[in-house]
Subunit: 412 residues, 2 copies
């Protein structure tokens, strides 16, 4: 008997028939002897419908009231799921954020969970009830309703699992696990049976959108194993868990890509202290997140070339700021390129394996792909390349690191 949290997203609860399917799945787990807490999102499309209503009022609706509005989506789903379970003879009870004190800060629309009261849920479970919790929402200290941002129900599920010390948090989604890379561009992509929290964090932040990043951070912090699996079949999915020694034998676990960045270069900047600070402060003040930053010696003596990437949505704003600032710091020329992509290889095994970077560069070189920028972390190497080479690069790297073959660990 295990204590299980199951999370179902908007597509899985998109209509009454699907809600009945979810209820059956919950019942299956219960009949197998498990205690079950279910976390659900709003029915697919509902949140967008509510946002459109608000947009009819004003393009810039009040953030507190926006959260009051959009949190109704999950409220509808928990009520429907709980009454479905009851109609099937399974005792169940729904809870909103305020009812189990899903405490958050007051950052409306992107709040962070700070605590959850587990007593009511644990008592219901002891009494044989299925507990149904509204994802995505919480309350701040003043009992204002808050929401956690897109994908926030994942975080709710993990936080609930941490609070009640669940054995596993199952995230049901429309894909059946985490893949070595995007199967849409690399047919050889293989489902991973296990992946570490750190690898998952890099996978997610680099564009493999299976789980909300924050939920993985939460899971790592409280050591909650996450099982990512399909809501449409019973196949085992991918377990996101603590790093295990065997994982290190695998050098690279996955290949990701991101086409949503653009590059800005400033040529021949005087190489004196404080230049970078002067350049990046106004960009940070404009709330633009800079990803990669690279500084190299310039062809002109006593000068450096600076290059960095920003999200495409912020590109024109960032470019304008740079053009205004470049005279002040004495830069000679500003170049920019929107047609770039970032490809990355990720793996905890990199820590103990040398030569991984060289292998990556060779694989790209063999395909004639020029590398514009490189950045590395402990478990990740990223290269900026021309965006038209993205798919080619992903497939080349997938082949080079033999990701289509199950690792020793996974074969067991």
């Amino acid at each position: 008997m295990a204590l299980v949290v199951q999370k179902f997203g908007g597509t899985s609860v998109g209509d009454i028939e699907r809600i009945k399917n979810v209820a059956r799945r919950v019942l299956d787990a219960k009949n197998q002897g498990h205690q079950v807490v279910v976390v659900v999102s709003a029915m697919a499309g509902e949140t967008d419908k509510l946002i459109r209503l608000a947009q009819q009022v004003t393009p810039d609706p009040d953030e507190r009231e926006m959260d009051v509005l959009v949190s109704t989506g999950e409220q509808v789903t928990i009520a429907l799921l709980a009454m479905t379970l009851k109609s099937m003879g399974c005792d169940a009870k729904s809870y909103l954020g305020f009812q189990i004190k899903i405490a958050t800060d007051s950052a409306f629309g992107k709040a962070r969970i700070t605590g959850i009261e587990s007593e009511k849920m644990l008592e219901d479970l002891r009494n044989g009830r299925v507990v149904v919790v509204a994802g995505f929402q919480g309350v701040d200290e003043s009992e204002n309703i808050t929401t956690l941002g897109r994908g926030g129900s994942d975080t709710t599920a993990v936080a609930v699992a941490a609070a009640i010390r669940a054995d596993v948090c199952e995230i049901y989604t429309d894909v059946d696990g985490v893949y070595t890379t995007d199967p849409n561009i690399c047919p050889k992509a293989r489902k991973l049976s296990r992946i570490s929290y750190d690898e998952m964090l890099e996978m997610a932040s680099l564009g493999a959108k299976v789980l909300q990043i924050r939920s993985v951070e939460f899971a790592k912090k409280y050591d909650v194993p996450i099982h990512v699996r399909s809501s449409f079949n019973d196949n085992p999915g991918t377990l996101v868990c603590k790093e295990e020694r065997e994982m290190e034998r695998v050098v690279v676990s996955g290949v990701t890509y991101n086409k949503n960045e653009a590059k800005i270069e400033i040529m021949r900047v005087p190489d004196i202290p404080g230049v970078a600070a002067k350049l990046f402060k106004p960009i940070a003040d404009a709330n633009i997140v800079v990803d990669m930053i690279i500084q190299t010696s310039s062809t002109e003596k006593g000068c450096a070339d600076l290059a960095f990437t920003v999200p495409k949505t912020d590109f024109s704003k960032a470019l304008q700021i740079v053009k205004e600032g470049v005279r002040e710091i004495g830069g000679k020329e500003v170049l920019s390129d929107e047609n770039i992509a970032k490809v990355s290889i990720i793996g905890v095994g990199m820590r103990s394996h040398s030569n991984v970077a060289a292998q990556m560069f060779s694989a790209l070189a063999r395909e004639g792909i020029n590398i514009q920028m490189i950045s590395t972390s402990e478990i990740k190497i990223s290269c900026i390349i021309g965006s038209k080479y993205t798919e080619l690069a992903v497939r080349a790297l997938h082949d080079a690191f033999e990701l289509d073959k199950p690792s020793v660990t996974e074969e067991k």
Copy 2:
């Protein structure tokens, strides 16, 4: 400067344009120097849509979860109205039942308000904010969401007005006040400028559906004047308030009718103690509300005839119970009639005027309408007649008591 509660029903907030109209009306009041609390219902049609969703799950959904579901309707409206007000430059804040502790009992779907915390609202008002409160909902002792039943937002508005000691509770609706009778069947019907709580209670319970009965009971208990008025114009409506001496000069204030009852008669029941109890207990046990009961001497010696009315929806169930019980108590025959109507005249002035009943009976007799049953209270006389005479009777009574002419009080 006054402290005003304004309540807007589903039609008044039926779409974004109408919500903007409501916001303008609230702003008008605020600009006139008043402090304003607004109570709103769900957008027209939304509650029914949610009920239909639940019906797709099961014909008999769990009551607790039903309240979780339907209370989202008001939540959507308060968020939209508050963000509309803010977008117009008026500081505003929305509150759900749990946030201002609209405490109720645990009778899901028909809960009664037991208390409201006024602190947050009063502080907001002091800070120049408009307070927007979700109607229809509350929380019980265990923080379960409850709802107050159809028309419950009226009661929320009056309860909020009582809690913050508002000067008046304005109920905006699609009619512009309380009429002497239904204008649809009596063109001479006249809008009343004032009516007492007790008269309004009789009017409402007898079928003039302007206000939820419970809201009037609440208003009477806490002496909250209710101003019933149109949300589509600025005309003064009807003030429902404490009885004033002048009101007694008016004998009859209104004529109402009700076609939703049916009559059951049991002939020649042995006239011995305990018979009525034996007959009505199983009906009460089946949760059927009996309205009029009349017992008369039968043509057969030592026997009585019993007649009573029940709601048409419970008619067949009640008839079955009676037919089963009638042998036991020794009744001879059961008759029934669904084609009846109840017409009533109402007025606090009846207390000090004699002969009102006789006037009523004469008016009906002049039109050749046979009276089947009569019941009287301190401020009301009701007659059961054949339903086909309803409209004729209403018009005849309206004329007989000269309700088309403004009373002395109202002329002032």
